[in-house]
Each structure stands twice: as C-alpha cells, then as structure tokens.
C-alpha cells in the first residue's frame, strides 16, 4: 500500500503525552500518516497502561484497551528526561521533528529545562502543544484535577440532569477525548501556518477551557446568560403533553422519537393504524386526558416492536427517531458494518482485537493501521540506532535506567 499518499505522510511528531487527552491528539496524527514517536518513562510507562478494561480481564500493561486504542500507529521509546543523557537524546530528537505534544503538569517542561524558548532555539519550526488541566497560567494552574472536576468546573454540568437530583455526568473519559481532539485541531492549524512561515508557535491548551467553549451547550449557555441573565437549568430533554412520548419502552429496549406539528402527518402515515387518525391527537395537545388516551393505544403498539424495526419504519417515513443503543447493538449494526468501521488489529501480546476505526473517511487516502500500540520501549533499538547509538550504547543506557 502506498503510504506516502496519507494526508500527514512525512510529518514527524514527538509525543510526551500520557493518560487520555494527549494520546488522543497524537493518535489522530498517527492514524492519518504522521510518524509519531511516543516517549514513555522507563519502568511503568504511560499510566493508561494500568487502567482497564483489559483484554480478557487480565490486568497487564500491554493489555489495556484504553491504552491500545489511544496509541495505534505510534512507535514507542523509553527515556528518562531527568537524566543528563536522556535530556541530550531528547534534544536530538526535538531538533528534527515538526511537532512536539506534551501533557505534563503545567511548569514541568520548564523545570526539565525543555521549555518552548529553549526548544525553539534548536528548532525554530517546532510547533509545541502543551495540554494541561487548567492551562500554563492562572490561579488554578497547580490545582489537582480529575475528569469529573474539570467537567464540573468547565462544562455545563450544573445544568445537566434532573432538577430533583444531583448534576449529572457524561460517559466516562469522554471529556478527555474531546480535549485531545481540540489539541489536534489546534496543532494542525499552527503546523499549517508554520510550514509556510518557517516559524512554529507554542500552544497552551487548557482542558477546562476546551469544555467551557464546548458547542455542546456550555459555550452557548454562557452567551445566553450574558444576553438574558438566566442560567441553563437541569431539565429532562422532553416532557410535553404532545404525543407520542419522547422516550418509549419497546420490545427490546428504549426508542426515542420527535414528531411535532410539522411531521405529524408523516408520523400518522408511518403508524398506519386506524386509531391514530383521531384528529384530537394532533399537536399541540393541552389536555392530559387526550395524551393518556393516545398512550393507551400507542404503548401496546410500540411494545411489540423492536427498536430497529421502529427506527427503520419512522426514518423511512421521514420522522427523526433513534434507538437507544448499547455497544452490543453497535457492534452488530448494519450501517457501521457496511462502512467497515470496526478494525481488527493484531498485537504481539494482547492478540487480535476489534477496535473502533476511522472517525472520518477521506476519499483519496485510506485510513491505515500500520502497527498496533507500541509495547513499552519496543522501538528503542530502531530509533536510537537512527540517532547513531550502537547496541553497546543502548546496553549502557539501559543499565543506567535512562531507557
């Protein structure tokens, strides 16, 4: 396969990131063709290696699904940046790459003597992206955080959920993945400019600010608050008298449908039963008795049908609706199958596993998994060899715990 045609072929990236956000950023670069060298701490490596789920539920640093997914197509190197030799090797690598992404706690690169001012002297074209919880400045710079804490502080958590319960969350680790995408977007834009100007920039990305600027309600709610003085409050998605109910129990789970006045006739046609032709059901409905009468017909009708069957019926009739899927539904889903979304990847230790594949497709260039996530230090010999180190040098570095 011709890999030189990939969008980021020839782009060299040094990856000092760990856990979720940073690796998500460099995964996107690697999966679309960049040569990403992931640098891990000798011994334990990326902490994500120790976070489940693990393949076969066997906890092992080469079997973490989180790590395996976020590090496809990268080459792996171990290096102790605190040692003199480690630093020297890092500077050699940094002088020959286009992009450096790091996600240490704010200020760490400076204390390692690897701040942007130092690195750009070696490599003026270098684009450096720093991903941190709260950014490289400000009163919370050194605060500790978890995904939940960042979500609570940055995002629309206060307005999420039910008014009679605590503020609610989103899927586990989702926000950190979003921050990684944002970092990739910022990095590529700056890289595009640096290619032309010959001069890189430093990007200071705060996960809290990615969430505060989210188009998923927060950014919008902040503007609305400025405009009208009201806060977005916790409120379930749809609780109206208009039939049909937004969420419905069907034969094999839950099914959502949104009809309204505009699509009422299409809805009636799609149901195709006599009882639904009762004109009093047509929105807007102001009388709860009518809603109840509708539901007496509707519930037994909907409960005998599967979410897939219902979705197909109403979508083909032009009514927006969707099944509430689980990952099991998605793994067998016709749409995802026809688009070859899932990919099988072989890994020397974890074996062949099924991964989520391309987040987007490009018609001229294939999405290619060239290699699985690296095992800890897997490419040490190859990469150090390229820098001119001999096998004897490597043995010495390893003995001194530099790699």
């Amino acid at each position: 396969m011709d890999l030189s045609n990939q969008p980021l072929a020839g782009v060299r990236v040094l990856d000092l990131t760990r856990h979720v956000a940073g690796p998500m950023c460099t995964k996107l670069l690697a999966d679309y063709g960049a040569d990403v060298i992931k640098i891990e701490q000798p011994g334990r490596g990326d902490p994500a290696r120790w976070i489940g789920p693990f393949a076969g539920d066997i906890p092992h640093p080469e079997r973490s699904g989180l790590f395996l997914h976020l590090n496809t197509n990268k080459r792996g190197l171990t290096l102790d940046l605190k040692s003199g030799t480690g630093r020297e090797i890092f500077l050699k690598l940094a002088s020959r790459v286009d992009i450096l992404v790091e996600s240490f706690r704010a200020g760490m690169m400076t204390s390692l003597g690897l701040d942007y001012a130092t690195l750009r002297q070696l490599n003026p074209r270098l684009v450096m992206t720093s991903i941190s919880n709260f950014g490289q400045s400000g009163p919370y710079r050194d605060w500790s955080a978890s995904e939940l804490v960042l979500y609570a502080m940055g995002h629309e958590m206060w307005g999420t959920g039910s008014p009679d319960a605590e503020p609610a969350g989103v899927a586990n680790k989702l926000n950190l993945h979003l921050a990684g995408q944002a970092a990739c977007l910022a990095t590529l834009s700056v890289y595009f400019g640096a290619q032309l100007s010959g001069r890189g920039q430093h990007i200071d990305l705060s996960i809290m600010e990615v969430l505060a600027a989210a188009p998923d309600r927060r950014g919008v709610a902040l503007v609305a608050y400025q405009y009208c003085g009201d806060r977005l409050r916790r409120q379930p998605a749809a609780r109206v008298l208009d039939p049909p109910p937004f969420m419905n129990q069907c034969a094999d789970g839950l099914f959502e449908i949104l009809v309204g006045i505009d699509r009422w006739d299409a809805f009636v046609r799609a149901v195709g039963e006599d009882w639904i032709k009762d004109p009093s059901f047509k929105p807007p409905v102001r009388d709860p008795m009518i809603t109840e009468r509708f539901n007496r017909h509707w519930r037994p009708w909907v409960i005998t049908r599967t979410k897939r069957e219902l979705t197909q019926r109403f979508q083909e009739g032009g009514v927006p609706c969707a099944p509430l899927n689980t990952v099991a539904d998605l793994a067998g889903d016709e749409q995802l199958m026809q688009r070859d979304f899932f990919v099988g990847i072989d890994h020397p230790l974890a074996g062949r596993l099924i991964y989520p594949g391309a987040p987007f497709k490009m018609n001229q260039t294939a999405y290619v998994i060239r290699r699985p996530a690296p095992m800890l230090g897997q490419h040490n010999a190859e990469i150090f060899g390229g820098l001119g180190y001999t096998a004897a040098d490597l043995a010495a570095l390893s003995a001194n715990a530099v790699i």
Binding site: P53, P139, A168, A224, M247, Q338, F342, K361
Partner: protein, 433 residues
C-alpha cells in the same frame, strides 16, 4: 501584524445548527476567511432560531439557549442576528445570502467555489445533492477543491439519509445509556450533544489534513465525517470492553471504577462540589481537610479498594463535611490539601471565576444588533499570533456587498438584479413566521 496560521485560506460554510458552525468558527479563529453562505428564502430551523420571528412571550418559555435573546429575552427587530445559539459560533466569519435552489444562485455559488479552498457542510446528505451540489460538480469548477461533509451516519450506508439531530445521534451511539444517573432511567437525562462537539472538531481536523495534503500533492479531497463514528472513538475503551470481553458497560453516574468520586451538596441553594479521592494520598488530604473526624479511621475505609467498595456508606459522611461550606470554599480547602476537587459552576459562576478571568477567557465583542457582551473565547492560547476577534457574530447577509462586488466582481446593476431575484438581503422573506 504577524501572519495568522490559516491566513489566505478561504472556506465556504454551509453548516447548520451546532457541529459545523462550531468547526468553522475555530478555523476562522485560526485565520481562515470563512464565508457563511445562507439564504433569506428558507429559515434554518435551530440554526438562526427556533422561529425567525418569535414573540417575546414564546421566547420566555424556551430554555435559555433557544429563547435567551439580549435585553430580557427581547427577540428584537432581527431575532436571527440575536440568537444566542448561533451567535456563540458566528464570530470570525463573513456572511452572504444566495438561494441555491435557483439556477442563478448556483451560478453565484460556482463563482464563489472557484476562489475558495474548502466547502464545509452538515446537511442531510441528499439535500445538497438535490440542488446539484455534489463533489463531482465542485471538482468540475475547481479540481483541487476540498469538500468536508459531516452527517450523523456518514455519506454511505443504509442510514445515510436518516434524519437526526444531535439528540438522535446521542441515543444511537449509546450515549444516552452511558451518561446518566446510576439509579434512574434515561428519561431523566437532559439534552446533551457531545457528538456535535466531537464531529465538529473532526470536520475541522479533516479539512486541515486535506489542506496539508493538497499543499504536498496539489490534489483536493472529499472528507466524510460521521458523528457516530467520531463519538465512538471518544469512548474507545467502552467499545473495546465489549469487543474484548463481551461486557456492556453501564452508567457509573458520577462515580469512577478506580476512585471514590462524586458531587456533594454544599451550603446554599443547589450548590455542589465535585471530589475525586483516588489514592491514599488524596484520602489523607481529605482527612486533614475535614479535621480528622473519628469516622475516617473506620475499617470500612482503610484502603483504596475498601473505600470504593463502601462508597455508599462513605458518601453521606463526606457530604456532612461539604455541607458546611460554600462550593468554592469547599474546593479550595480540599485543593489546599492536595485533593482533586472543584465547584460545579453554573453559567453565572463561570463569569465570576478568578481563573477564567485571569486567563482572559471571556472576550468583549460588540455586534450591531446585540450591543456589547462578553463571550466565551478560544479554548487555547497561541504564543506568536494570539487569537483575535476580527469579526463579531455575523449578521444575515452582512457582507453581501463585499462578497458579490469585491470578491466575485458583480456590477452594481447585476447586484440589483440578484437582489430583485431574492438572492441578496438581510431579512428573512416576509412569509416566514
């Protein structure tokens, strides 16, 4: 002034609702010339409002993001230029109007395509095609064009033309069953559209990748972004728990498998603090912060595993402490002792937050139909070319003169003709409610 990273790149924005308008805002922030191509003849429901001309009474019934017009929910003379949802994502763009349903409109559009680098859209796939706007048609006008198309399910496959907003996409891709309360059914969820965020960013990323490749190869590209497939990459570990182990993960609520975690009530009305106690160090920090209460020595809370196993018993004890403090104070005390904690900030708190203030996150923007307000700014800072607010939230047809006459070279007479045909304007057609 230094050259902005994407300066010199022209992008046509045919985006609706959230995902693509957000995507092109970011590209505009980074220096691209983004032109919103809109029409005065059809109202884009949920893009420039729920209705073009709602009454103030209606606006008052709607949630803030739909009805929160400036000046106590006054829709004003041109509500479409005052709609908070749209205006958040409308900065750093130019705006023009043209009716693409008419052949004369497509001619205008073709002239625009000739001088543009990329076109980005997120309509139901067949809707542009019905007007003859396809990748092949665009390539005929400009062979190296980049066409970025985002939709819920992608441009191929049996569900290609299914109608879905963010809400439907969320339920389809499993989010409704993952992001919710542990002990309540998903009808207690409120609307949330992280798949718009995920998909919108991937559309911009795909556009940049295509631009980078075009610079190297001289060739354009069609980018097909599926919101579902974008989202599934953002929960890869949950997907892989199923593909590896056959496990269908259920919602954890605000908890975590590897830590004691939750939101706890604080002093005041509907005030909460988020706390994560993952390690023994965090636990010791919490004990110190709470002033060494006796219950901390309970055997049920001895180790990390004990605490996670017995969180149901631990939670009310933690909350007994948090209830004594205002949410910001509780977080500050815990942080002082090294415990990850933060106030759950409502929209008002965010504007008062000392950190966001110190970082200059909010930026003042003056727009003719809204006056001056603070807006959430960019999510990152650049060392050499700080992101500027070059254009306030774009008003319908605001740059028609510049785009038709300067960019496309139409004469005054042709301009008037196009105006008469209904292409050019700053108000939605009178028949639109």
């Amino acid at each position: 002034m230094k050259r902005l990273p994407l300066q010199g790149i022209r992008i046509l924005d045919l985006g609706v609702v959230a995902a693509i308008p957000y995507s092109t805002m970011v590209l505009g922030d980074m220096g691209a010339e983004v032109i919103r191509v809109e029409t005065t003849q059809v109202f884009p429901h949920l893009t420039r409002g729920v209705l073009a001309r709602p009454t103030r009474e209606l606006a008052k019934q709607w949630i803030t993001t739909s009805g929160g017009y400036p000046n106590d929910r006054d829709p004003g003379e041109r509500p479409w230029n005052r709609y908070p949802f749209f205006n958040y994502m409308a900065r750093n763009k130019l705006g023009m109007t043209v009716d693409l349903r008419k052949p004369s409109g497509r001619e205008v559009f073709a002239r625009l395509v000739r001088i543009s680098d990329a076109i980005i859209e997120n309509n139901t796939p067949s809707s542009l095609e019905r007007m003859g706007i396809t990748y092949e048609w665009l390539c005929g006008i400009r062979p190296d064009i980049i066409f970025v198309r985002l939709s819920s399910f992608g441009q191929t496959g049996p569900y290609r033309d299914y109608r879905a907003f963010g809400l439907q996409t969320e339920s389809f891709c499993g989010h409704d069953l993952l992001g919710r309360y542990r002990d309540r059914d998903p009808s207690h969820n409120s609307w949330a559209v992280p798949s718009d965020h995920a998909g919108g960013m991937n559309a911009a990323i795909g556009c940049l990748m295509a631009l980078i490749r075009r610079r190297r190869t001289g060739r354009g590209e069609l980018v097909d972004v599926s919101m579902v497939e974008s989202f599934l990459n953002d929960i890869g570990h949950i997907v892989m728990d199923y593909t590896m182990n056959g496990r269908v993960q259920e919602s954890l609520g605000n908890r975590d498998r590897d830590a004691v975690q939750g939101v706890y009530r604080c002093k005041g009305d509907d005030r909460w603090v988020a706390i994560t106690i993952a390690t023994d160090e965090h636990w010791r920090g919490f004990i110190q912060a709470a002033g060494n209460p006796l219950w901390c020595n309970d055997r049920r809370f001895g180790t990390v595993c004990d605490r996670i196993r017995n969180q149901d018993e631990l939670d009310p004890l933690i909350e007994r402490w948090t209830l004594q403090y205002e949410h910001r104070a509780a977080a500050a005390i815990l942080q002082h002792h090294g415990v990850p904690a933060g106030p759950v900030m409502d929209d008002a708190d965010a504007y008062e937050d000392p950190h966001l203030k110190a970082r200059g996150f909010f930026v003042p923007i003056e727009q003719a139909d809204c006056g001056e307000h603070l807006y959430p700014g960019p999510a990152w800072k650049l060392s050499e070319t700080p992101i500027q607010m070059r254009h306030p939230p774009v008003r319908l047809g605001e740059h028609n003169e510049y785009i038709y006459k300067q960019l496309l070279g139409y004469s005054d007479q042709e301009y008037e003709e196009l105006e008469r045909e209904g292409h050019i304007g700053t108000d939605y057609a009178a028949h639109i409610p």
